[in-house]
């Protein structure tokens, strides 16, 4: 059964800010903190450890609260963007 056919399953789409990388993620427990999910996603695709990351809900344009469970902050099927928290200088 695909994620689209399982209405009760917790899933979301994740991409990077450039849209180069994009995929569906359906293996996360909605009770996991956003920080834990973000850390796992960056590790999974071997992105730089030295940069702090945030997960951004693209529909609202806001960063998710790292300390709170992801399932409390998004609805299934949300578009999340893994966004580096760094600045040009």
């Amino acid at each position: 059964m695909t994620t689209a056919e399982a209405p009760n399953k917790f899933w979301f789409r994740i991409s990077d800010v450039t849209g180069t990388f994009s995929r569906e993620a359906d293996s996360y427990d909605p009770r996991m903190s956003v920080a834990a999910v973000g850390a796992d996603l960056t590790r999974d695709i071997a992105w730089a450890k030295s940069t702090p990351w945030a997960l951004r809900d693209d529909s609202r344009g806001e960063y998710l609260d790292e300390a709170r469970p992801i399932g409390e902050q998004i609805t299934p099927g949300a578009d999340l963007v893994l966004t580096p928290r760094t600045h040009l200088g």
Partner: protein
Amino acid sequence: MSATGHPQPPLGLALEFSVAERSAIVHREEVSRADLGDLFAEIVWAMHTTHGRRCNHLFTLAVRSGGLAACGTLVVIATAGRLRQEFEFEIEALAPVVARGMQRVRASEPHDTGPEVRCRIVLASGRERVDAEGLLASGPPELRVVDTTRTKAVREALAACRAAEQESAAMPVLFRAGAREFAERCSRAGQDLPEPVETGGLLLGHLLRCPSEGVFLLIEDVLPAADAAATKYSLEYSPATWQRIGAVLRARRALSPSLRPIGQAHGHNFRPEGPPCAECARRAACTTSTAFLSASDRQWCRAVFPQSPFQVGLVFGWNARGERDAAFYGWHRGSLRLRGYEVIPDEDAAELLGARPTTTQQRTTSP
């Protein structure tokens, strides 16, 4: 830990830090697979664009000592079928690991660590080579096939690029004239404010392949970083900036699927500190400038364009004589390095892409 929660053994590659006049190693910083993502992606890209081959994602690592590189160099051996090729990277390619290690060194020996800290690339004791699986987010991007035979200006610009980048054999980069002008306008916009700030935008471009001219990059447009948090010395894209960029990108890519973010441009809208140097009058060009990629800029580029060996960066600034200055960078051998580009007329860019200039292109060329 891996994505599945299982710990991964160390690669067997590290940086060893020592303090001059002391033989003891003061710190050893392990290099992880994630640290090598940019290098592996560059190799995969090179094998793809140079040889048209799909690279095996299992690499062999070795360290070469001696020569001019005091830190040693990292040698990565890649294979594609029977093809085997060595790629050599200097310590700059491991800059994030160096920064991480230096942080630990300074934390543990705050009084002993001035500029005399040294580091060198080493393999695990007793090993001459180690194997490493390249964990890459995606394969090399698709190249849009174009025909340059009808655009003389493009062919001439590609030849000029190749001549200028002969030593590095770096991919030619063409800039649409209107986009180049708009990049400067966006980047210097912040200097006209009562309190000047940094401003800039995201560069959009196409990775192109012409059967007769090979692979090259065309920078076609710029998306200004609206709603960014800016100060005199920093520029931070806000959630609203990224949201707007994402929305525009989706719309633009629906019309032109090969269009992609390819780099950034921004302005260091401040002058170098202090007066021009004593030899100023005798020098043909002033080299004291604020047009350069800072450490923060480099970190931003690595973070926003991970595993993107085709990325570029453009920084506008001022030299000590008060003249406008700019510096252009391209990814090569594991880091962003100064390089050149050629500007082509808007009509030739449109001809190359088989399209009339878009509304945005017309906007960016208007005064």
